[in-house]
């Protein structure tokens, strides 16, 4: 994401990341009342977190140091699971490579498409509602088993895509079942379901006051300049949100590979997403302890990515506060 050289005149003077309270914020809070009020607001979440989320999460952390076959009580295994993952697990390495490739390809492309379409749809066009709804349709199909059937119809050796390619004289492979290309069909599926970030971008675009553009036009700024100088900077909180959330989602991607590869992650582990591997270990091979260790390693990887995003945010995300 390229950063504008200077933020628009009357947007926030400086980017203020959430994690650094400013003097102004502190002042405001003092005025608003004690932190007691804050905890009242937080209560439902805090209660839910402590009762429903933290307990099971900590238990899975404990399980990651055990052998647990789902049926017999867990047996303490110390660092065994982690040691095995680090030293003796080729499938772990395969799944990390597959997942990283998927994240690095699908997230930027999906965000770019979502933003592009959102900008196209943000104009006063006739039939906007219909377009918007149509573009959201693929996302509605999210976990449907129908997707698996459909994707095969599209990307098999004698599928629709190859028939189109034949028209221009190219004989394509069976995309969905070749180890070199299967993952890319899942990337395409992810991009095709760009509905959620698109809606969020739209909501963000709607929040940008029109008079900024009017002012810019009066100054003779070109369309491109308006995009780089106004739209993108004003949209950075939303871009940031989408980037973080989509990255987390892509790391945890499961269902598409599960239904399209029939749960195997094949051919030859080429679509073995990390969580699919984890699922196989937990529910296919009765190794919940090992799966829990995998889950906590994933959590650390995602947390590092997210922390990096938040640190970088102070240089490119502009909040109006």
């Amino acid at each position: 994401m390229s950063s504008p050289t200077e933020p628009p005149g009357y947007a926030a003077a400086a980017a203020t990341p959430l994690i650094v309270p400013t003097g102004r914020r502190a002042r405001l809070t003092r005025a608003l009342g004690s932190s007691g009020a804050a905890y009242v607001f937080l209560f439902p979440w805090l209660a839910g977190f402590l009762i429903l989320t933290a307990g099971p999460a900590l238990y899975s952390l404990y399980l990651s140091f055990t052998d647990y076959d789902l049926i017999n009580p867990p047996r303490w295994a110390g660092m065994d699971n982690y040691m095995r993952i680090a030293t003796n697990d080729p499938k772990f390495q395969d799944s990390v490579r597959v997942t990283l490739t998927f994240v690095l390809l699908s997230v930027p492309l999906k965000l770019a498409v979502a933003l592009g379409v959102a900008m196209l749809l943000n104009r006063g066009l006739r039939g906007l509602t219909i377009y918007r709804a149509i573009f959201y349709l693929p996302s509605l199909l999210g976990t449907s088993v129908a997707i698996a059937v459909l994707w095969r119809q599209l990307f098999a050796g004698d599928g629709l895509i190859n028939n189109l390619l034949l028209g221009i004289g190219i004989q394509g492979p069976s995309w969905i079942s070749s180890p070199d290309t299967a993952l890319y069909t899942l990337v395409i599926l992810a991009i095709w379901q760009f509905g959620s970030p698109m809606i969020i971008f739209l909501a963000g675009l709607r929040q940008i006051p029109v008079d900024i553009y009017e002012a810019a036009r009066m100054d003779g700024a070109s369309k491109a300049r308006q995009f780089w100088r106004i739209t993108l900077p004003m949209l950075t909180p939303v871009v940031f949100f989408n980037a973080v959330v989509q990255t987390i989602d892509a790391f945890k991607a499961f269902t598409s590979a599960f239904i399209i590869s029939g749960g195997t992650g094949g051919p030859i582990n080429s679509t073995l997403f990390y969580t699919l591997y984890l699922y196989q270990e937990a529910f296919g091979y009765f190794r919940m302890g090992y799966a829990s260790a995998l889950a906590w390693i994933l959590l650390i990887i995602i947390a590092l990515f997210t922390a990096f995003s938040f640190l970088s945010a102070r240089y490119w995300v502009h909040y109006d506060d």
């Binding site: 076959d69 789902l70 049926i71 017999n72 059937v149 095969r152 098999a156 050796g157 492979p173 069976s174 969905i176 079942s177 070749s178 180890p179 590869s261 029939g262 749960g263 195997t264 094949g266 051919p267 030859i268 582990n269 196989q280 529910f283 296919g284 091979y285 009765f286 919940m288």
Partner: protein, 425 residues
Amino acid sequence: MTRFGTGRYAALASVAATALLAGPAIGQDGGDLRMLWWGSQPRADRTFEVIDMYEEANPDVSIQGETVGWSDYWTRLATQVAGRNAPDVMQQDYRYMFEYAGRGALLDMMPYRDEILTLPGVSEESLESGMSDGKLWGVSLGVNSVAMMVNETIFEEAGVPLPENGATWEEIKQLAIEVAEKSDRIDYGVEDSSLYENSFQNWLRQRGKDLYTAEGELAFEESDVVEWYEFWADMRESGAAPPADVQALDQRSIETHMVSLGNVAMGFAHSNQLVGFSAINEDEIVMRVFPLVEGSTNEGHYFKPSQLLSVAASTEFPEVSVDFVNYFITDTEAGKVLDVERGVPISDEVRDAIRSELDEDGLAQLEYIEALDPYAGPLPPPPPQGAGEIDQMMARVGQEVAFGQLTPEEGAARLVSQAESILSR
């Protein structure tokens, strides 16, 4: 539909304690059971009907039936078992059953054999498939075996004679090449079965070997795998079998099977799946036994359960549960409702009772099983823990060989070393 209040734990504990002290001898009159099975609509209809019939005959028993598809089943069952909320009666798969039994989740039904699980019309032999170490973990819901699915329509259109039972692999190869050439609907004759454990096992058994020994070790040599992979490499090169990227479309479900996708005229599956194949294929599908190797022992096939019915070790109502199993398997009226949808019934009485009511596919299934004896050998020892993982690993290594990433020798070495490492884990 919530039957359990918050106090169910105390109740469960006390009942379990009583049952433990008293042993299976005390009579239980009623109970609230849950039964879980996988399958789809036709199976659900039949099963619910039998549940209703049983409830009518036993007014103090109520059974809540729960059903989901195969791919969701194991997650649901594992969660319930792990949460100590296992269904009292559950459908089990031949392989998974031993995983559950080995970990103590299933009830040994042997002690009930004399009084409750009387199983009239069922031979002792047909119970072996649900046993290990003399304990009975599940009763077969239907006799089943692997089968070659043949698209009769394609053969007829191409004017090629159908393969016959007892054909050798070499003959099948020639037939496959011929039918692929003469038919304009398919490019290849027979699916590449090098990835699949069932086919490999059948091939091994014809050579006097098997997948696993009774001790849970590998019962074949690396050289067997090399030969197997070389055989299939030749099948692919000769055009009899499809290349790896076509075969990889198969995800071991009926609708992704090479035969259903219309890529080949012959493929490999289980005999109870004929109904499923017929439903989604416009063409006529018939079954043949697996092809034979040179000098075959004629013992490649064996009768295995299509599914089994097991009772949870944690059940509050072991006697009622076992009685229901007995009813489900051997009652002739129940049998008529259940048909051969889960495979050919193991009870002779039920089999005779339903014969006249079977449709074409049902009859074909029954006749296939009845004609299988000359090609069938004894039941192999129960698969060891980890067999499921080895099966998946075999498919993966088979693909690596088929895609040319490994030579047959390298593939065989990897298969054996990874299988041994899984078994030792």
